[in-house]
């Protein structure tokens, strides 16, 4: 409540008198322990191993009984990656040695998969795990690509025509050769001509 003015004190000075005295910051000498919430992470290596074994067993059952169905493979060919299945056509651009009728095996496989599982290589899968066979079906030239450079009104014009070789491969097999974690002792030897 404001004091009764005697006509000389301004409103501001009257209000100033109502303010409480500023108290210094109270330092808390003792910190109350707050409730600490901790997350208990359960480390269960046995359960993880069980799950791993179960998953690999399921995959191997499918491989053993050949029940995985159609498989796709990610192949690495001439610097490019292609996702292929059986009966696919792959176009290889540029010079490629194999001629029509040559059948060969594509060895650089980055991944293989089916309906129920995928095997990812880091970066490549083992050579003896997957068999991807391809046959050269056609060796032809691409369409004619025109490289036309023109500087208008400067009488400068250049025309170039280019057709690069295209090789068509037919992938006729993508299959798994052995079960997961059951690789042969010596790998990379079968079918090689030394």
């Amino acid at each position: 409540m404001l004091r009764e003015t005697r006509g000389k004190l301004s409103l501001a000075s009257q209000v100033r008198g109502l303010r409480t005295r500023a108290t210094p910051a109270v330092l808390r000498t003792s910190v109350q322990p707050s409730v600490v919430e901790q997350e208990v992470v359960e480390h269960t290596p046995e359960a993880e191993e069980e799950l791993t074994k179960y998953a690999i067993q399921r995959v191997n059952d499918q491989i053993g009984e050949n029940k995985h169905g159609r498989l796709f493979a990610v192949i690495y060919l001439q610097g490019k990656q292609h996702l292929v299945t059986a009966e696919d056509l792959v176009v290889v651009q540029g010079p490629f040695a194999p001629t029509i009728g040559d059948t060969f095996r594509l060895e650089k496989i980055l991944a293989v998969g089916g309906r129920d599982f995928t095997l990812l290589g880091r970066p490549l899968l083992h050579k003896d795990l997957v068999n991807v066979e391809a046959t050269v079906v056609e060796k032809s030239l691409s369409h004619c690509r025109i490289f036309f450079y023109n500087r208008r009104r400067k009488n400068s014009r250049k025309t170039k025509f280019e057709r690069e070789t295209h090789t068509l491969l037919r992938i006729h097999r993508v299959e798994l050769l052995h079960k997961v974690n059951e690789a042969p002792d010596i790998e990379g030897v079968d079918g090689r001509i030394f």
């Binding site: 191993e49 980055l110 990812l120 290589g121 208008r152």
Partner: protein, 146 residues
């Protein structure tokens, strides 16, 4: 009167104006208006079209890459991760699938793509990243080997 021998030292200069114009007009047959039939108008637009073709062949590669990035990112967001995180985890684990394959898998091999997304979430959780959102998916076992 029968001419039995050609004129001495006669030259046959040019004479292929028709075929020169045919070559240009063949390329302009899908244009609109006089540009497709009148040579002196068509030649400008054919030259422009050919220049655009050269330029576009270079740009197509960047455009494709951008489209693939968009698709992969969209797939990742649907599954609760980001493409940048997936890239980092794939680099860490040594999986070398490129953009073309990843966008293909995002569309046509969704289970394989989901496996990669689950792997990114679990690996990031192991590193302590992106833990404020939902917990990592169960059923993914790395055993510290990946």
């Amino acid at each position: 009167m029968v001419i039995t021998s050609p004129t001495l030292f006669a030259r046959a200069r040019g004479g292929d104006r028709y075929w020169k114009r045919r070559r240009i007009l063949a390329l302009s047959s899908h244009f609109f208006g006089r540009k497709q039939n009148c040579y002196s108008i068509a030649i400008k637009y054919v030259h422009r079209a050919l220049r655009y073709g050269v330029r576009a062949r270079k740009l197509k590669k960047a455009d494709d890459r951008e489209l693939w990035d968009t698709r992969i990112n969209a797939g990742c967001f649907e599954l609760g991760t980001k493409y940048s995180d997936m890239k980092a985890v794939m680099n860490d684990t040594g999986i070398a699938l490129d953009r073309k394959i990843l966008q293909n898998m995002a569309v046509w091999e969704p289970r394989s793509f989901r496996a990669l997304a689950s792997l990114t979430k679990v690996k990031q959780a192991e590193m302590g990243l992106n833990t404020l959102g939902s917990p990592p998916p169960s059923g993914v076992v790395t055993r510290g080997m990946l």
